[in-house]
Amino acid sequence: MFLIVVVSYILSIPFDTQPSPEVQKAFDYIENLPESSVILFSFDHEASSLPEIKPITLALLRHAFRSKAKVVGLSLFAEGTAIGYRMMTKAADEFGLKYGRDYVFLGFKPQHISAILGIGESITRVFPEDYLGNKTDTIPIMRGINNYDDIDMVITIADGDRPAQWIEYGGARYNQQIMAGLTAAMITSYDPYLASGQLYAVVGGLKGAAEYENLYGKRGGGNRGMLAQTSAHFYVIALIIIGNIIYFRGRKQQGRG
């Protein structure tokens, strides 16, 4: 498997992919945002899922910055903290944006449920200081952002059940609109929330990132991995089929004996 993935990764041919409806919806929302809308990015993942998370996040961040949204970042997973900051500054630098005026990173808060609920009351109270140690209420971008009333969309970038808590506490209680960037593994868990409208849209997995990149018009990490992804899938499919052939042969012989 090592070999298959390595070879197909080096080869890497770009694919044209049809965007799935959810990705299209997410893209349209950010594309049509009025200037200076506020988007809250929550980096709710561990360092381990970075390979999948990174292309999704960068695609969404770039797009948000291009739509001239104000972006507030934070993290409800200790390990998402430094990663979130790095990705935000990386994307912002591409657009020449200024920290504190166009975007801000508030850092990490443990006990996510109380943090999510706390933001509904007062975001500066939950985060008295930002990641760099500035007093939150003195940061220009934070003027006029007190709680969910001032936030247009929460985008939770997650590899676990944080989006559920955003929905159950932020969404249910404060009517906050929520969108999610998910690892592929998490997608089906959130289907009911998507169907019920509790979750606005989902960009899921490397495929979702590739689709988003295509819509956005700049190919990146999502597209680069697609051929390797395809060959890995076919490898697994082959394993399943071989496993079953062996199983049924064994059973047939047992039946005869």
């Binding site: 561990e46 381990s48 590899d159 676990g160 059940d161 593994a185 998490m186 089906t188 868990s189």
Partner: protein, 255 residues
């Protein structure tokens, strides 16, 4: 406003639920017996302990990574642990219990100690076999994985809250040929447990199983209460769908 009107449906539903829960608790206390349907996998508990004893190998029990002590799954897992500890005490089989949470560790030690005492062998209990390893998901996964491949337990119980570490644990267990009994409410992980384990308790089955095994009245009554609520929900859905089909402009069923 002392009352937020938009929360009215939740309040009504809460009150209905409370009444039903309290009713079932009351009726169990006043001697009514609730039966729970048979759950496959429960009979395997004894088999799993017995097999470990025969092989002279240990049993590994873990509540997974991600749950804390107030998670219903963790509580359910504790109830089953209590029963398993009783059995391992009886058969004098070693019980390893690695966890990611210090509070869970402390509670599990107590629960297991009681189980051993109940079986009549308090001296067989080893507190050090129930231990904290790491709060980090993959620190925990790597460590438990190491324990499985080094100590080669004959049976593995994976009952509780699991996230991505589930597959590492279940597959490693599978590869050393252990009997595996898994149960969780984490739906993603269930698909792996079903593939890699011998028995899997799906979602609520874990709660019901803990009531069934422990005979704990309060859990049994909750299971009953949930069943009543499920019937109400099913009726609500059927009625409102018929209603909505006949009168598509109706919205009374929307919350």
């Amino acid at each position: 406003m002392w009352f937020d009107g938009s929360t009215l449906p939740t309040l009504i539903f809460s009150i209905i639920s409370f009444i039903i829960v309290l009713y079932t608790i009351w009726s169990v206390r006043s001697g009514r017996k609730f039966k729970i349907r048979e759950i496959p996998g429960l009979n395997a508990v004894e088999e799993a302990v017995g097999r470990a004893t025969e092989m002279g190998a240990a049993i590994l029990y873990t509540p997974g990574w991600g749950g804390d002590i107030q998670r219903p799954t963790t509580i359910a897992s504790m109830n089953i642990l209590s029963k398993v500890a009783e059995k391992t005490a009886e058969y004098d089989c070693r019980l390893l219990y690695p966890t990611h949470d210090p509070v869970i560790m402390a509670v599990a030690q107590e629960v297991a100690r009681e189980g051993y005492a109940r079986a009549g062998y308090p001296e067989r209990f080893k507190a050090d076999d129930i231990f904290y390893i790491s709060s980090s998901q993959f620190g925990y996964a790597a460590a438990v994985d190491g324990i499985i491949s080094r100590s080669k337990p004959a049976s593995i119980f994976l009952l509780g809250t699991f996230e991505a570490e589930s597959l590492i644990l279940a597959e490693t267990g599978n590869s050393i040929g252990a009997i595996q009994i898994a149960g969780t409410d984490s739906t993603i992980q269930l698909s792996f447990f079903i593939v890699a384990c011998d028995y899997t308790l799906i979602g609520e089955e874990l709660f019901a199983a803990s009531g069934y095994l422990s005979g704990n009245e309060s859990i049994l009554s909750s299971v009953k209460a949930q069943d009543i609520l499920k019937i109400l929900i099913a009726l609500f859905i059927i009625i409102s769908i018929i209603w909505a089909t006949i009168d598509p402009s109706s919205t009374w069923w929307q919350f």
